[in-house]
Symmetry: C2
Subunit: 345 residues, 2 copies
DNA sequence: CTGAAAGCGCTTACAG
DNA sequence: CTGAAAGCGCTTACAG
């Protein structure tokens, strides 16, 4: 496939036609005007004429080979990047990545070939094509720590989107959940809430742990009460009963999906949000669904995370990353007010 | 920029590590097992081990120069692929493209480089980079016909998503709007509608023309009446007056956005949809917004278009595309019933 | 001011 | 069975 075009124009042919050397053609094309490489105006024009006549364009492969870099940044997503279900998750990140790539003038290589039929995508499986890119941005809620460590060993330039525990040489751009979660707890306490209920996601990832830890420590600092449960099923009624039993006046819910379902369901039971119960979500959906109400929530700067990840990657690749502290970035989250957090009844 | 990775792995280094010649490494990689190029099983394994340890992948530029393909399919979008505004448009297409790429085991190169600050993205400005990919899928509502023709001349393998007029050698995968639009007109006529109003988008593209032409010809065939206007502003009230004046009982609206705004606005005027006026949209939003009502509409098979485009591209690249008819594909649209089309009052 | 030459990393025919 | 060598089309120091 992609057999070379037999009559493809080359600099050599241009040179023949213009009566100069091939190198002179390259020089003209480079647009360089150092004193050391000055071409006569006349020669330059003759070459330019031929180039125009033949509508010649340099072979990118040869250019890249000679230039030693191919201006390709990789993007590896642990799940499909585009499908409907996850698109809300990846879309803003990818938008940021795309914008930064445009800014840097690089192309983006999406590693779609890495998919394995069963199980999650693997970064380093046999025949990994990672090295085709000069460096790579990694996206996904959950990443294989061993793989990341391996990448570090290999000295392959990469940046994870999302904070990563484990090997501390892993560069990342994450969201500062802790500060925002703490703020939300303080806000609730200031509104008179003393009994909290926390519904966590049923999986462990840095991002979920961060929120949970920040919650716990804020609760402790405020000297209030909290119950933490895992939202591993959809039986809102059961939760609601436990919340009533716990006499909680506010519920923090990690997932915005759960938060919406929760609000809708309890309202069907005649419970009013936020009059009877306040709801806060720590989720990161960029595009809040059309819900009857706007749930008070934390908003991760997803687009910026994508942009910053690419910029950091670039700095790492060019050796301008500086100390380790500057290769691990946490971006501030915003808090969307909403109308689901009110005074404790 | 993108200074060369100093320690980029090469076949030469692999060869050193494995104690063989560089050519032997290339041979192992090629997977060739001709009698003329037989390597000892032992050598082969030693090389493979080193390749695995270093997770080496051949430099795509060098491969290309040497005349080989790279398992990279390009994706060129005329607008930003991810940003919020256009993500509804591209998301399903890209999802389809991604799925097909996974199926074929190829990676996807998004041409984000050399974006022009002003004006639309140009294909041929990045023309050189285009060659980095073995072939390319083109996405966008409006494409430059001259550029496409140029690509044909260059014998660069590509497929446009969306029907393309002009040079008939341009391969595409489009949506068969005509049939669906005709069906919708028939359906309306069957419900007793005799006076139609048509609101077209304010730009010319094959996809808008297709729908308009199909509408006109269906109207003619049914021997009913229609007014066609361009929706180049947002003054729904003005349209509504003209619709009333025209005594139309049904409005066909190309853009789903317009259709939603239209429905919402006339209902504020006390006009009931569909009792007083039926509304049909010929738009292609994959993710219908939360509207009070579900507008009867045409649904383009966006995901399938992405998938089919990649498959067709692959066939073209491998020389299995067959005759021209098979390089121009129109996929059937679905009709989503909705509840905005009812009997003429 | 211009041209000959080396080298980028690969593939592949060809000589040992 | 393996290795040395040419060549893909370019860039860029370097020698004239």
């Amino acid at each position: 496939m992609t057999s070379p075009n037999p009559r493809r124009m080359t600099q050599r042919r241009i040179a023949e036609l213009a009566g100069v050397s091939q190198a002179a053609v390259s020089l003209v094309l480079s647009g360089r005007t150092d004193t050391t490489t000055r071409l006569s105006e006349e020669t330059r024009n003759r070459v330019l004429d031929v180039i125009r006549d033949t509508s010649y364009a340099a072979d990118p492969a040869a250019r890249m080979l000679a230039g030693k870099s191919n201006n390709i940044l990789g993007v590896f997503t642990y799940e499909s990047a585009f499908p409907a279900e996850s698109s809300d998750f990846y879309a803003p990140l990818l938008a940021g990545v795309e914008a930064a790539a445009e800014e840097l003038g690089t192309d983006l290589l999406m590693f779609t070939s890495a998919r394995s039929a069963e199980g999650p995508r693997k970064l380093l499986r046999e025949g990994s094509r990672l090295r085709v890119a000069d460096g790579c941005v990694l996206l996904g809620r959950q990443m294989d720590g061993a793989e990341l460590a391996r990448l570090v060993e290999m000295e392959y330039p990469f940046v994870a989107v999302g904070r990563r525990d484990g090997d501390e040489r892993i560069p990342y751009v994450g969201a500062d959940y802790a500060t925002a979660v703490t703020d939300l707890v303080f806000r609730a306490v200031a509104l008179g809430h003393e009994r909290f209920f926390y519904l966590r996601l049923p999986f462990e990832a840095e991002s979920t742990r961060d929120r949970r830890d920040a919650f716990s420590s804020a609760i402790e600092r405020c000297d209030v009460h909290a119950v933490i449960e895992t939202a591993d099923d959809n039986d809102v009624h059961a939760y609601w009963r436990r919340i009533v039993n716990a006499q909680s006046t506010v519920v923090f819910i990690e997932s915005p999906d759960h938060a919406e379902r929760f609000s809708a369901t309890v309202e069907e039971l005649g419970v009013s949000v936020p009059r009877d119960i306040s709801v806060v979500t720590l989720g990161e959906h960029a595009r809040p669904r059309s819900m009857g109400r706007a749930i008070t929530r934390l908003v991760a700067p997803r687009r910026e995370m994508g942009t910053e990840a690419v910029r950091l990657l670039f700095r790492i690749m060019t050796g301008n990353a500086g100390a380790r502290e500057t290769t691990r970035v946490l971006l501030p989250c915003a808090i969307a007010d909403g109308d689901s957090l009110a005074s404790a009844r």
